[in-house]
């Protein structure tokens, strides 16, 4: 018996539930040198903004215990160059393309998504309303239920394919935000983005990031992400895409059991570029051993204590 790894979210079929996370696979070109992108369920691009952005000055990454901090600051080529220079490459790849969109204002989200709506070969957008590394926008949206609802609703008006809202973990109640996204018409929610954190060089007394704070990611945050995925899955009808510290297939299984329909692999790609491929392989092997026919046999099946 071979396991069927296919999943469907908002009518879109994915060959498997293992995607790469935004900001951790660029626009696909570099990763395609390491493995054929067709192995991925989907590739989520680096956040795209209206104008090109340089991001914060270096240093903008720092290593931590079983994780890292980043304050890249949404460096990206801007939506026009993205469409002209990056989409053609992605269109040739046999994988789903999800474009992550960020903005400083409501209008920016709308404008970028409007532009993207004309682009073929783009399966969904993911709204980054949770970036901790920019002064304006980003996390502000994702920390406020009504802004969340509004930004999703506005984007749904201009973008006709499915919209994923990517949620911030830096909130008191992520379920409330997920419900607001649902209310706004989101087709799915993805969580979590990075957690606000910092580190200081004790010799120079300088923060290790020029942005003073950054986003914590990697295995360190996995338990937090998993609890949030579980909570959102239990109280919100939208499909959940699990993100946070997934490094191996067993991590992916944990997220599926907690209710994720798909997972995104971020930081682990840095440490092991083939991680997503190994996760797909491991997941298939696990399903075979457990005699599971489809991914649905795993999703949300954690046996919670009563």
């Amino acid at each position: 018996m071979t396991a069927d790894l296919g999943i469907t979210i908002a009518g879109v079929e994915f060959a498997n539930p293992v995607w790469t996370a935004s900001g951790c696979c660029g626009y696909g070109e570099e990763l395609a040198r390491v493995f054929p992108l067709s192995r991925l369920g989907a590739l989520v691009t680096k956040s795209i903004t209206l104008e090109p952005r340089l991001g914060h000055p270096p240093p903008r990454v720092a290593e931590t215990s079983a994780g890292m901090l980043n304050a890249i600051g949404l460096a990206n080529v801007g939506v026009e160059s993205f469409i002209d220079e990056k989409i053609p490459f992605l269109a040739r790849q046999k994988t789903r393309t999800i474009v992550n969109v960020a903005g400083s204002t409501m209008g920016e989200y709308i404008e970028v998504c409007q532009r993207l709506n004309d682009v073929e070969h783009l399966d969904m957008v993911e709204l980054n309303i949770s970036c901790p590394n920019v002064d304006k926008g980003g996390m502000q949206f994702g920390a406020d239920p009504s802004l969340t609802e509004e930004v999703v609703k506005s984007v749904k008006k201009v973008f006709t394919r499915p919209v994923i809202a990517k949620l911030s973990p830096n909130v008191t109640d992520i379920v409330e935000i997920a419900r607001a996204a649902e209310q706004g018409g989101a087709d799915a929610v993805s969580l979590i983005n990075s957690m606000v954190g910092t580190a200081v060089d004790i010799e120079t007394w300088r923060p290790r990031l020029t942005n003073n704070t950054g986003g914590l990611t990697g295995p360190a945050i996995k338990p937090i992400a998993l609890a949030m995925v579980s909570a959102v899955h239990s109280s919100c009808r939208l499909p959940v895409i699990g993100i946070g510290g997934i490094a191996g297939w067993a991590d992916a299984v944990e997220f599926l059991l907690c209710g994720a329909t798909a997972v995104q692999v971020g930081t682990a790609v840095f440490v092991e570029p083939e991680a997503p491929v190994k996760i797909v392989r491991g997941l298939r092997e696990y399903m075979r051993r457990k005699k599971l026919r489809t991914v649905n046999d795993l999703i949300g099946r954690v046996r919670k204590y009563g």
Partner: protein, 264 residues
Amino acid sequence: MTKPTCEDTFLKKRRSLGNDYYSLTFSPYSQAERCRPGHFVHLKLPGNDVFFRRAFSIAAVSPSAGEMEIIFKIVGRGTRAMAHLRPGDPINLLGPLGTPFKRPRKREHTLMVAGGIGFPPLLFLARDMISRGHDPKRIEFFYGGRTAGDVIERSRIKKLGVTFRPVTEDGSLGSKGLVTVPVEEFIENHDNGNCRIYGCGPEGMLKSTNELALRLGVPGQISLEAPMPCGIGVCLGCVVPLTDGGHARVCCDGPVFSIGEVAL
């Protein structure tokens, strides 16, 4: 950028070079043949304890033996763990990575400007040039360190037949002072249009080398370091500011940059 592979190899030989410097030779390394001077490998220590990979310039390869050598100094947790590796230990290597050096023309004076742990890629470059028929005598190997113990693998460099020019800040070996001083002297005594400079070493040294090359009109390249989460160009964590106002990724747009390209 070259197509990298991610492969498990084994430590074959470990040499202590004194003063916290070590040489590690890995084998079998399927990519040995494809490695060029300036390329680096991204090395993963087992487990999460040293979380990021660590970048090391390739110091030497033996394609026939499938061997690849790096040389490093203990400066922190990762390199300390590496110094404790033992022959037979498995290590995962991602590589070869980065954009290698462009070789000089054969008639040019090649000025290698090495500082501290910056010497390994220049050793590889010199050896590669010689194997391709460059005259070792036209390679000036300036190698600076705080003290004599920082100028390692001296006999190995000399054996290449290059003009070896050690420089130490405390004068314990070669001329006394900063390595850029004799470099400048050399250029002033030669046709700058016929010189080419290759620098690798600490930031301050690279800065001076870059300035001096610009000032004296000597073309060339420098190899940079930066924190490197991914090494393959996807995280944008390793950027350096360019003189044109943009950013470049050290891991794949570099680590080798032309003189004048980077805002040091």
